[in-house]
């Protein structure tokens, strides 16, 4: 042990004789290690964000959503287009499949909300009280829709944070009245802001909850009904949709996939058109896991290349050093150094170089979150166009330093020191001491 400490001291001394050269050599490994940590941290940040969004859909959930069928499948010539999942589907599925513990139906419409001089275009979500638990909505003030409201088809509404802010910038919205198209609703509660979650129903865009207004589903049936008429290009178009979405909660993660199969086959039996989509967050999670792994492997590969380049830099310098110090090697051999002493000496030098590179790389690796947020705000300030074009997931992503990447990066840098140092060290040790002493 003592001999290693002494060799270490000697090695650092020799390296300090050429500080610039040592610094440049260290730089190669430093960049490699820092990039391993950074790439893994960014990769982890992005995939964690994606996973969060999927998990917010619920791992035991199966989501069936109404989709407007592709036009080539529409056979009816009537002005009124009937499509989507129905109340009958809801009854059938929720009553006949024993693994389903809860089924939550909603109907949503694009509507305009107004109050005084303020207006917002948003999503009117007709739902049941369970919807709040399913989406993990939190109330800022007031209360959510309750069973009583449903029974009595009350014209109560709950505002999302975004709508509340836009319609009531200076007031408490609770017990105030807002207008949704032709009806009036009394505000009974306001939600806290909620982050977007992963897209469903075949759409890749994240779901945004910031412009939602929630009302009891029975109220919608009484007041608005299933038919929505819209004027488009001079003609009237009508759509009849009973339910926009049913979220099924399954009793056990194991049963999610089989239950989804049953739901799909049952729906196929009653629907002639592709007017619904089935999303299984669990499947998305699996996919995300695979994507994440590919991503990590890819990032790791890039980092590995930069580490190998750093290693070659070390080897190059050490070979030059060995040639330059031939005479010193000769002297040491004449004074009693064994071959393994010489190997140890040069190996320690390369390991010191690569370890210093590794440690500084790790230190700089820790600055990744700071640096990416600086970079993001820089892009936001100076290149707003570029920033706007970035996907949401990149904008909201926070790099997460993977704890395993620290020992990994350190281990790799030491290993590179050993691997790329061994050849120059052996070359030094195999010199004939007589020749080496004569070397000028």
């Amino acid at each position: 042990m003592l001999i290693w400490i002494r060799t270490f001291r000697l090695g650092t001394k020799s390296l300090m004789l050429h500080p610039l050269r040592s610094l440049l050599t260290v730089l190669g490994i430093f960049i490699g290690v820092a990039s391993v940590i950074w790439l893994l941290a960014i990769g982890e940040g992005i995939s964690r964000k994606a996973q969060e969004q999927i998990e917010s859909l619920g791992a035991t959930n199966i989501i069936v959503r109404t989709i407007k069928p592709p036009s080539d499948q529409i056979t009816t010539t009537s002005l009124l287009l009937q499509y989507g999942i129905t109340r009958a589907d809801y009854e059938r599925l929720s009553q006949t499949i024993p693994t389903i513990t809860r089924a939550i139906r909603i109907r949503e419409l694009r509507q305009r909300f107004t109050r005084g001089g303020y207006e917002v275009d948003g999503r009117l979500v007709a739902c049941t009280p369970e919807y709040k638990d399913m989406l993990r909505l939190e109330l800022d003030r007031g209360r959510f829709i309750q069973d009583v409201d449903l029974e009595q088809a009350k014209n109560y509404c709950v505002l999302s944070a975004g709508v509340a802010e836009k319609l009531f910038p200076y007031e408490d919205p609770v017990h105030k009245i807002i207008r949704v198209e032709e009806s009036f609703y009394e505000v009974v509660g306001v939600c806290k802001p909620k982050m977007p979650s992963a897209g469903i129903g075949g759409s890749m865009a994240a779901q945004d909850f910031s412009n939602d207004v929630y009302i009891p589903i029975t109220t919608l049936w009484w007041r608005i009904g299933d038919v929505v008429i819209s004027r488009r290009a001079g003609s009237l178009e009508g759509e009849e949709v009973q339910l926009s979405q049913i979220t099924f909660q399954v009793d056990n993660v194991k049963n999610v996939i089989p239950t989804a199969e049953i739901i799909k086959s049952l729906l196929a039996k009653y629907h002639r058109m592709e007017d619904y989509g089935v999303t299984v967050p669990l499947e998305l999670l699996e996919q995300a896991r695979i994507t994440r792994m590919m991503f990590m492997i890819f990032m790791g590969l890039i980092a590995a290349i930069s580490l190998v380049v750093g290693g070659i830099g070390i080897m190059n310098i050490m070979l030059a050093t060995v040639t330059e110090r031939t005479r010193e090697i000769g002297i040491r051999r004449a004074l009693g150094a064994k071959r393994r002493d010489i190997i140890r000496q040069f190996l320690v030098e390369t390991i010191v170089l690569s370890t210093v590179g590794g440690l500084t790389g790790i230190l700089v690796g820790f600055t990744c979150p700071l640096f990416t947020s600086l970079l993001k705000s820089g892009v936001e300030t100076f290149l707003p166009g570029v920033y706007g074009a970035l996907p949401d997931i990149v904008k909201t992503m926070r790099p997460v330093i993977v704890p395993a990447s620290l020992p990994l990066a350190f281990g790799i840098s030491v290993a590179i020191g050993v691997i790329f140092g061994l050849y120059p060290a052996r070359r030094a040790a195999n010199m004939d001491p007589i020749e080496a002493l004569r070397h000028e």
Partner: protein, 246 residues
């Protein structure tokens, strides 16, 4: 009388291309403890080869070479390295100090490869540096020293492991005559205190300081000349460097 080294019928051949070079063709002599031997000869006479063999840097083709009681003719590389570290004191023509080490650290190098460096060893290194007159320069680097001072460091280094003999290869070859005299005086002094010295040189004036001169020619011992008045007392040998001092 104990022998520091004993050479018996030593043969060394090199293979260069397809040709065999006979560097030593059977050399025998003894070096008793306390002796001061100069090995002399023209270039190509085999004195460098003999030096390398005595210095445990090479293996002989045949014959035996005893250091103390041990025949090292067929010793392993590691054993030879141990002997170099433990029992031989090298002094080279070009000093061969390690540039990045201080005076004290240079003196310590052989101990380092013996795997020992106690407080007492370090104290001994200081004493040796003081003995060769460098007590004030322990933390200087070789480049900060004159040639004579560097050679003194090398001599201190050669003594640190209490060797069988000091093996000096043209130790004054790179020095001016005044410094040469200083170094040779140091050797005289060391020999007087009982150290065994084997000195390889082609300068007769230097060789004459020894007790005996072994003259090599074409890989054989041509003559062994005993010097009745070794050391500085040899007036005619000393006369030359002194004259050139002015």
């Amino acid at each position: 009388m104990k022998l520091a080294a004993s050479v018996q019928n030593l043969v060394k051949e090199y293979h260069l291309g397809g040709e065999v070079v006979h560097a030593l063709r059977g050399v025998s002599f003894d070096v008793p403890e306390g002796d001061y031997v100069a090995i002399m000869g023209a270039s190509g006479s085999g004195k460098s080869t003999l030096l390398n063999l005595l210095g445990c840097l090479d293996h002989p083709t045949s014959g035996s070479l005893f250091l103390g009681d041990e025949n090292i003719a067929h010793a392993s590389d590691d054993r030879l390295a141990e002997l170099r570290a433990g029992r031989i004191g090298f002094v080279f023509q070009s000093f061969n100090l390690i540039p990045q080490l201080t005076v004290l650290e240079n003196i310590e190098v052989p101990l380092y490869y013996q795997g020992r460096l106690s407080r007492r060893d370090r104290e001994r290194c200081r004493e040796l540096a003081a003995m060769v007159g460098l007590a004030e320069r322990l933390n200087h680097r070789p480049t900060q020293l004159s040639g004579g001072q560097q050679q003194r460091v090398a001599i201190a280094r050669s003594l640190v492991n209490d060797p069988f003999f000091i093996l000096a290869d043209e130790p004054t070859g790179n020095l001016d005559s005044a410094t040469t005299e200083e170094i040779l005086a140091l050797f005289d002094q060391l020999n007087a205190s009982g150290k065994t010295i084997v000195l390889v040189t082609h300068e007769l004036d230097v060789g004459k300081r020894a007790r005996r001169i072994i003259r090599l020619r074409d890989g054989r011992i041509e003559a062994v000349i005993a010097n009745a008045t070794p050391g500085k007392a040899t007036a005619d040998a000393a006369a030359v460097p002194i004259a050139s001092q002015s």
